[in-house]
Structures are given as structure tokens and as C-alpha cells.
Symmetry: D2
Subunit: 341 residues, 4 copies
């Protein structure tokens, strides 16, 4: 059994990690930290875990050595305390944005400050298994991708690898859990319920990750908040630089993802679920991908959906863990999702 | 033209008052106060009023004399400053709970403190036009009912007046705007969206108003928060003390409310809208009432619906204003509601 | 491995059964029937099962012998074809209403027609494990309870067993999946979204089950549809026939349910999740139960929540299956639910 | 008083027309047709109109001469019966798609059949007042724009007029009422609630209108259905052909729309309502428009929001009516919208 601990475990991402890991057959959750909830049962923050675990939160200062540490701290905190955490565990999976970008200039541009630990940037592997599986298997340090970046990169990567993309306009529709568990005016129910609200028309930080993983193409990105708790739907308007027929696009995606356990190509001829939908993915680690070829132009519309807290955060982190442990990639991640929900 | 000002105008109730009064043919909105928004346009707090009004918020200290003052302050504040407000306007409509109860002991029991101005309790008329129309017409001081109390009292009053009620169990389902515009953990969208959450199983403060207006019967009351922004649905299980046939109940309600502009008896034989639904009432001043007779017992289920911000607050306040001005009761309140919404 | 087949597997309940059983370590799903989808992959009806199963629907006529048959047919169909099904499998779990009631007169009253197979009524065990565990273990024929009945009976049973209940008024708030997967005017999204709609103020069929399982008390029942897809919240206003203190009520519930794997007593002093909430239960087999004692009367408000498709249908059916197989009651039912969702 | 009748008045658009016209100070609603509801009160289809109107539906065959006829028939029916309708009223406002396009080839391409009345295409004015005000004032025949076209054309027109647009990618997020009032599998609440579902990634019919009104630029359009009943949010990624500073874009929009009663430029520096949101527009005839300049490219993101049933259908039709009557354009359309809702 691998002993794992979670730093910053009272948020939504920490809660999801806990939910998965408590049932993971190869791991034991040793400790979970929360300064605010220290001493209280984990179900005080995560009421779904009532009667599932008797674990209590502890303070970071109380952390004991373990095999692997998950970091779920607010952006900017992991890099300041990384030495402290490396002293606790030989392997670290960081779910914050701190170590995702290799280029410190990109970090400075998108996060508005200098990176504090540029010496470590090369040491972290970008934790997107479908693109960096082998590196993750060997890694001691993994930085998990942002949720919007995950949905977008997985949608575009097969085309990008074949150098078929001229440019792309990506519109992400995201649910409210993306903003975390702290209440604000924007998350106040009477204001947020039923809203469709432009969140980041330009300048979204996750674009930096897309630039890194999909180099040499231009991605125009916007994010809109919609009525949904969990989930992301990314609509990518891809402008192709050559005339690719729909059947060849099929082939490209199938070849890229046929062996991928968590990617499903969704393109039904009939029924109401012809394209990917995040509603079907709540609690799952899937990324569903579909597309439609615009008959009258060089545009291909690629649609991808994930659960932002799972494939966009905790699920993907456990997928990385499984790779690092050398076990089946889907261990603990078999939940197929609910229908309807 | 009657000059009116609104004290505490940045909240949801103040915003609704403003929305109605800006279009009221017999009133001019002179001033609206908000300490937090003082100096800013009203559309900063009420974005629906963009391009509708150039009015700015002012501080209470800047209030000038006017004909009538609406008080939309948090519970407990009106009674502390009532002399100040009476010096500004000869007529006052208070939308808080401070002057609703005649009996200071009832106030102390339900609000957990002594009433500060028991000398004024008799001076305020309980602003429920369907029950106290004549008194409101003569009144200088009106205390508008609570939203749950409005929905419940209007549902039960016709039966109560005929002494037909033995007891009643009332379950109110309420939307999130009832809690006001301040964000909290409970109103955080990921937690509140899609929730059905027991809010006050027992001991709700509005019960005090029901006891006052429907004396000599026992009302067991519970409130549950559901996914909805505006609206209240009250299901009243009325236990009758004599065997009344359905057709007689019809007659009782029709006689009680046939002339009431804002009460509609809803009881369709077919279709999907056979009973009252708050969804149809958003923005309106209606109270819709329906019922079903339990064939196997002395139970009558009475269903009543209102918009908590309208008939449950601002709309009813304007209805009182109209009565006090001696004009048509529905002036400014003609909006019929949207379908679908 | 036990071979099981599902009759009527294209509906929501059949889909949930399939979702659970495909991951059940002791069962193999042999066949799933749907006349409409015969020949198509199960993911055509249940898109969450994409990449999870290559099973195809077949017609009932194609059913082969198996160890146990789940019946998910519309009410009224199981009893007409029960001989046919008994010839296919020695054990049957019926999820319809056909064999729930022991008393054919009760059936006739609530379902408006004579029961076609009164000879079999005694043969079926009412599949509520918390009340009939031993009988279910021995049973060949099990009739699973209705979802409203499950939530209500589990809430009231501990008090009923001690003869503490004088009467009860029960208000159920239910989500839209309760109505099944057939579109109708009432389920049309613009009409149903955000609605709170009185569904059955009186005369609900599930009352018959409550009368059977909780004899000698009067239950006044109403059901209201609210904005929610999955879930039931039952608020039971219990009128006690003696003065029981809150701490004794605690004791009664703890004694009744301490050993129950799927019942959680929820009564927190702080936080926003102080009472049961169906939102936390989507996909789980839990029944959460809480309560509040009315200080001023003999009323106790008991609040219970379930997922109508799980503890209210498919999950409870698998719980019964586990009992019939003599294995751990929670096999295949460990999913703890999502937060937030 | 102008006498108007509505053909096809039982749908959502017809209901909205009726709601507005019943309160319109210069019109009398003479007749409303519905074959299905003929003989029944209008509140049978439009429950919000209870106690507002005693009007009954009639059959088309019963229509009597009137001053102006609104046609709210399904697409394809107006053109087949237009002679019949022209015999009833000298002025016609058609809300279907039949007479929107001037070029019959465009019609054939997007609607998949030949236009039946090409002789009349030039006679109809495209009913977008902000672009064709003078023509509408003179018109006897008006064809009201599609809702997606309205939101997109109003967003892009000021830039288009100055020949600043190279191309645009437009993503529309739409609510469920856009699909009309007929229930279907796609509109079934358990499937539609909380969904974000790609509706028309390419080939949407409203693109034809955009091509007509915004000639010589390429518009890539996609539509996505989201959880919302009313409303459209269009996010237009505009690629500019020259470097225009943000302050100049401000100027362009202000000059274009400063005098427009129903267009509001929304671009706040603070608060949560910094961009247009359809949630604020339910029941109003506004089109709110905002934008953000992408600092790193030639992209301008323009955000526009409308109520699809109002500015996208019935409201805009009444705006045209007002122009045709030579009265104030906002007559009957003053409702400012609700907040929150």
C-alpha cells in the first residue's frame, strides 16, 4: 500500500481526491490538511463522506512522512513551500498552476509576477497522461493541468500533432465549482442561478498551458460561466490548413485515442446525445470528444467535455498517481457517471 | 404627484420597489439611500435599471422631507430609528418585521429580544390589503407582512373566518432571493444549486404573524429552501372541524376573493398548470390559490403561491401605497408575469 | 457468478441497475430487454455506459434462463406476465408496484383496478431490507418499494415500532426523473425548469405502501415536484402521542439504525448541511435521516432524503439481491456520492 | 385604436405577443387563432394571462378583417397561405423565417427547399428597426428576424458598417424556449436540465440572415443549448482588419447606438454584471452589448444578450408595429426586467 497525504484538503478538489483515494485499492490516505478544519472530521467539509471515513483534518505542521503528497493549495502557495513538502514525500503531485509552465516568462506574463522557483520548472512533468504518459511514469514531480487546458488540449492535440491547424477559436462553458468553495457576490445563488456570464473573454491564464502544449498555432480563447455545478464544454473552432475530409478526421481521432481508457469519441447519428455533454460526466474521469466538419469552409468544430473536478483536477491527478505507481491507469476511476443527473 | 423615498434601497426588496415606482404614474421617487452605494447610480446595485433611471443613491443623512417613506432596512433597525424617519415623512411603509406584531411578548418570543418601541405597535397597521383594506386606507404607518405569512394567511383566511379550521400543517418551499443579497456559504452556487434543504423545520419567525392574523387555531409550520430564485409555494394541510364538500369550499373562496384584484383561484381540470405555481408569478403581485379535498379524511390541501419579492414584499407595499393614496389598487402593478420563464 | 437479466432495461431504473450490475463483482449481466431498442447497444439508451459495456438490448422473447430476473416494466405489466418470467429465472426482483401490497383491496383502491394475481401476493416479500431483512434473505420473489414510500417508511419506522406516532403529515419534494424517461407536456423543459408544482396533494398511490408497513396510524401525504433531476426529500410532521425529549429521539433512531449500512442520521449543529439533502445522495444508496423537535407542541419534524433511482429503486433492488445471494449488503453500492454536484 | 389579430397564438411567441398587446395603449387584440385551442380561453395556453383577458382562441377560418395581422406559424406555413392572410389585413408582420431572405437561393440552401413565393420577397422588409427603421415605417409587410440573427447582427453591425471586420466566429448560448412549446426527447427535463449541449455546430439557418445583413464578411457560427429558459448570449470573436484601440471601439458603438432605445452598451469596470447577461433581460426588449479587446491579437470579443422571445421575436415585432403606426417605438415595451430572477 502506498501512503498518500493531501495538503489543502478542505476544498472541492481536495474533497474529490479524498473521495477517490478512500476507495483506491492500492493507497492509504494517511493525512489530510486544512488549517481551518484542523481537528474536525473530513465530513465536516465533505458531507458526502459521512459514514465513509473517520479521518480528521490536521494542520500542515503536523504532516508526517509519506510516499506521495498531493498539493491542493491556492495558486502561488506550492512554489513558496515546495522544499517543505519535498522533505515530507519523495513524490509530489501538485494540482495548482505553480509548476505547469516550463517557461518562466510565460508564467510572468499570465500570472503577473515572477516565478519564485524557476530552478524546479524542468523537474515537473506536465500531468496530462495522454500526452506525457512515459514521462509521468518516471516522474517524482507532476504538475496537473488546468481544467480548461485539459479539455482544449485533448480536443486539439491529434490535429496539432499532424500539423493540420492554422488557428483555433475556443469557447469554454464552465460550471460554478470551477471557482472553488469560497462564497462571493458572483457565486451568490440569486445572481448565479440560470446565469450565462462572460467570465474571461480574453487573457485567461489557462491559455499559457495551451501555448506550451500546442506550440506554433494561435489559440483565441474565451470562457463563459453557465448554469451548471460541475463540468466544462469546450467548443473549438479549428481552422484547418488543408482540406481534410470528415472520414479522415474520424481516423485521426481514432488512431490518436483508440487505446485511451478515458477518452471517448462521441459522434452519434441519432438520439439526443450526439455530442459530448458534461452532464453525463459528473464524477467520471472521461474526456468525451466529438466534432462536426463545416461543409462551407475550412472550419472543423471540435467539442470536448470533462468534469472539471475530475479529469480537470482530482481524477487526472489519480490517473497520474496510477502511472507513477505502475498500476492500471483506471484504478479507482471506474465510476461511469450517472444518467440522468 | 406623491414624492416617495426609499431607505435601504440597495437590496432586492429596495430594487423591486424602485423598479415599480419608477413607472408609477402617481409617484416620483425622490431619493434612495444606501450607505454602501452612496453617490453611485442605482443601476450599480440593480443592473436591470440601466438606461431606465439616472437616480443615484444617497446616505440616510442626506434624506429630505417627502410625502412617504419606504423602509427596507434589516430587521431591528426600523424600530431604532423610527423617530428620525417620522420626522422626514408623514407616512411610512415599513417592509421589515419590526412593527408587524401587536403583542410585544410575541415579538420577544420569536425575535429573541425586547421590542424597543412598544408605544408605536398600535399605530402600525398590518399591511395585508385583503384583510385590512380599510385600516390601510386611513393609516399613516403600515408594517408590511412577511412573505411566508402572506402566502399562508391568504390561503387560510377564508376558512378561518368561517371557523372551519381545527389545525393546519403548512410547508413552505422558498427560493433563494428570500435570503437577501448578501453572499454566504449557504447561498454559494455549487452548494445551493439544485438543493432542497430544510431551512426552518420549526420555530420560523413568520409563525408569529400567522398566530396574530389567524387567532385560535394551531399552525405547524416548516420552511424548505429549493432551487428557485423568486417565489414561494405554501402547501397548507388544513384539518377541518366539519365536513365541508368541495363545492362549498369553492364557494367560500370565491366569495372571499372574487373582488380581489390580486388573488386568483387556480383549479384547472386539465393541463399542466392545474395548481398555483410561483414560476408563473415572477414580477407580479398575484397570490394564486388552489386546493384539493382529501376524500378519505377531514384534510383539505390548500396551495398558495406568490413572488416573495412582490406580493411578499415590494408589490404588496405598493398596493398599500395605492390604498393610502386613494387610487386604484393595481396602479403600477399590472405586470401579468412571463410564460415560460 | 450469478447470472442476472433485466426486463425493461431502457428506462431510467433499468439504466441504473445496469450501471451498478456491470461493476458488481458477483454478478454477470446476461441479457437486458427493450422492445424499442432491441439490437442496439445499451449505450444508445444509457449514454453514460459508452465504452463500459458492449451489451446489446434484446427482446423479451429472446430471454434465456438465468439465476435472477429484475423486472423494470411499467406498473401493471409484471402481474400479467409473471408466469412467463418465473419460467426464466427461479428468483425475481420486481421494481414495479404490482406485488408490493399484500391486501388486494388496498391495491384496487389505490390502483383503480382488480389485482390479476392475488394468488401470488403472499409469495412476494416487500423489499425494504431495513424492515424485512430476514425475509428477503429467504425470498425467491421480492417486490421493491416505491421511492416515496421508502423515504417515508424509513423516516417513521423507528417511532412507529415504539407506538409513538399519533398521526403524520408527510410532504415529499421530488425530482423529475421520478416520472420516467418519456417526454410529456409536464416534463417539457421550459415548463418544468425552476418549477415547484403540486403533483399529488392527496391520493398518492405510495400511501398504500405506507399504510401496509406502518399500520394503525394515519398518514396524510402530499407530493410536490421541484427543480431537481434525482432525489426525494420527505418532510414528515409527526404528531407524537407522548412527550418524548429530543435526546430520547436521538436514542431511538440510533438504536434502530446504528448497524444499518445505508442509513445515516444527519443532525449537525453547524454548517450548511445540517439536515439530509438529496443533492448529496445522487448515485448513492443512502437514506439520510434528520429531525427537529418542535418546542411548542407534540410535533416532531423528521426529514429524510434518498436518490429516487437508487435507494428508491435500483440501488435498493441490488441491496435485496445481495441479501438473496448471502453476500455483503453493500456490494456494488459503495459509491459515496459527489460534492458538490 | 388599431385592431390586430394573431395567427398561431398558442405558442410561446404568440403568448408573448398577446401579453404585450393586451396592455398596448394603441391596439386592440381582435382575435387570436389556434386550431388546437379554438373555443378555449387564452389562459389555457398562457396561464400567466389568467384574470387578465377573457379572450378565446378561434380557428383561422373565423378570422375577420383587421388592421394588422401577426403571423406566428411554424416555418414554411406563412408563405403557403400568405394570400389568405393579405385578404384579411392590409399590414402583416410575419414572425416566421419565410420572408426574411431576399435571395431565394439562400433560402433554398439553408431551408432545403424552393421558396414558394419568390414574387413577394422584395415586398417584405427585414424587421430589424436598428438597421431598417425607415423602411419599416413605410412597410405593409415585415418579416421579423430570427433570434440568433438579431443578437449577432446587432453586435457586429457597427463594426461592419465601418468595414472593420475581416471575419467572425460567433458562439450562441441559447435557452430552451427557443425550441418552442412542443415536448420532445431533447426537451425532457431530466435530459435537458443542467445540460450544455451542442445544438448546431455548423449550418445553422440563421446564418443566412447574417450573410444577408452583414454582407462581404465570413461568419462562422455555432449554437449551444444551455440551462436557461429564456435568453441568448452571443459571443462574437471578431477579427479586425486594422488595429482599432479600445477607446475607438467604444466610440463606434456609442455613435451607432446612443439614440437607440433598446440597445444598451454594458461594460462596467467593477461588480459582477460587467458584461451583458440574458438573465437580466427576461421579458424586456433590450439588446445589451459589451466587448473586450484582446491585447495580443486582432481579436475583439463582442458579447450581446437578448430575450429570445422578446427582442428575438414578439418584442421586436411590436417594436416594428409601433414604427408602422408612427408612434413611440417603446410603446408597450417599457418593462425593465427583473433582478434577481
Amino acid at each position: 500500500m502506498t501512503s498518500v497525504s493531501i495538503v489543502g484538503g478542505s476544498g472541492y478538489t481536495g474533497g474529490e481526491l479524498l473521495r477517490i483515494l478512500l476507495f483506491h485499492p492500492r493507497c492509504t490516505v494517511q493525512q489530510v490538511t486544512s488549517e481551518r478544519f484542523a481537528g474536525k472530521f473530513v465530513h465536516n467539509a465533505h458531507p458526502n463522506l459521512r459514514k465513509t471515513s473517520q479521518l480528521k483534518f490536521c494542520a500542515v505542521a503536523e504532516l508526517e512522512p509519506c510516499d506521495l503528497l498531493f498539493l491542493c493549495l491556492p495558486h502561488g502557495q506550492s512554489m513558496g513551500r515546495i522544499d517543505e513538502f519535498c522533505a515530507i514525500a519523495p513524490k509530489i503531485i501538485d494540482l495548482s498552476a505553480d509548476f505547469r509552465l516550463k517557461d518562466p516568462r510565460l508564467y510572468a506574463t499570465y500570472y503577473g509576477r515572477e516565478h519564485a522557483r524557476t530552478d524546479l520548472l524542468d523537474g515537473f512533468v506536465y500531468g496530462l497522461p495522454e500526452l506525457h504518459r512515459d514521462a509521468i511514469k518516471q516522474a517524482d514531480l507532476v504538475a496537473c493541468p488546468g481544467c480548461n487546458a485539459t479539455a482544449t488540449i485533448l480536443a486539439l492535440s491529434p490535429l496539432h500533432r499532424r500539423a493540420l491547424i492554422e488557428s483555433a477559436v475556443v469557447e469554454v462553458k464552465a460550471g460554478s465549482s470551477e471557482g472553488g468553495n469560497a462564497a462571493s457576490d458572483a457565486s451568490h445563488h440569486p445572481e448565479r442561478s440560470g446565469a450565462v456570464r462572460s467570465y474571461k473573454p480574453t487573457g485567461h491564464r489557462h491559455v499559457a498551458e495551451m501555448m506550451q502544449e500546442l506550440p506554433d498555432i494561435t489559440i483565441h480563447f474565451s470562457a463563459t460561466s453557465i448554469e451548471m455545478v460541475r463540468g466544462i464544454l469546450a467548443t473549438s473552432h479549428v481552422f484547418l490548413n488543408s482540406d481534410v475530409a470528415e472520414k479522415d478526421i474520424w481516423k485521426i481521432y481514432r488512431e490518436a485515442y483508440a487505446e485511451e481508457r478515458f477518452i471517448r469519441i462521441v459522434k452519434e447519428r441519432t438520439g439526443i446525445h450526439r455530442y459530448p455533454e458534461p452532464k453525463l460526466l459528473a464524477g467520471t474521469n472521461y474526456c468525451d470528444i466529438g466534432f462536426e466538419r463545416d461543409a462551407g469552409s475550412n472550419r472543423l468544430v471540435v467539442i470536448s467535455a470533462i468534469d472539471n473536478l475530475m479529469k480537470g483536477a482530482a481524477g487526472q491527478a489519480v490517473q497520474c498517481l496510477n502511472l507513477m505507481l505502475g498500476i492500471s491507469e483506471s484504478t479507482g476511476l471506474e465510476f461511469p457517471g450517472l444518467h440522468p443527473v
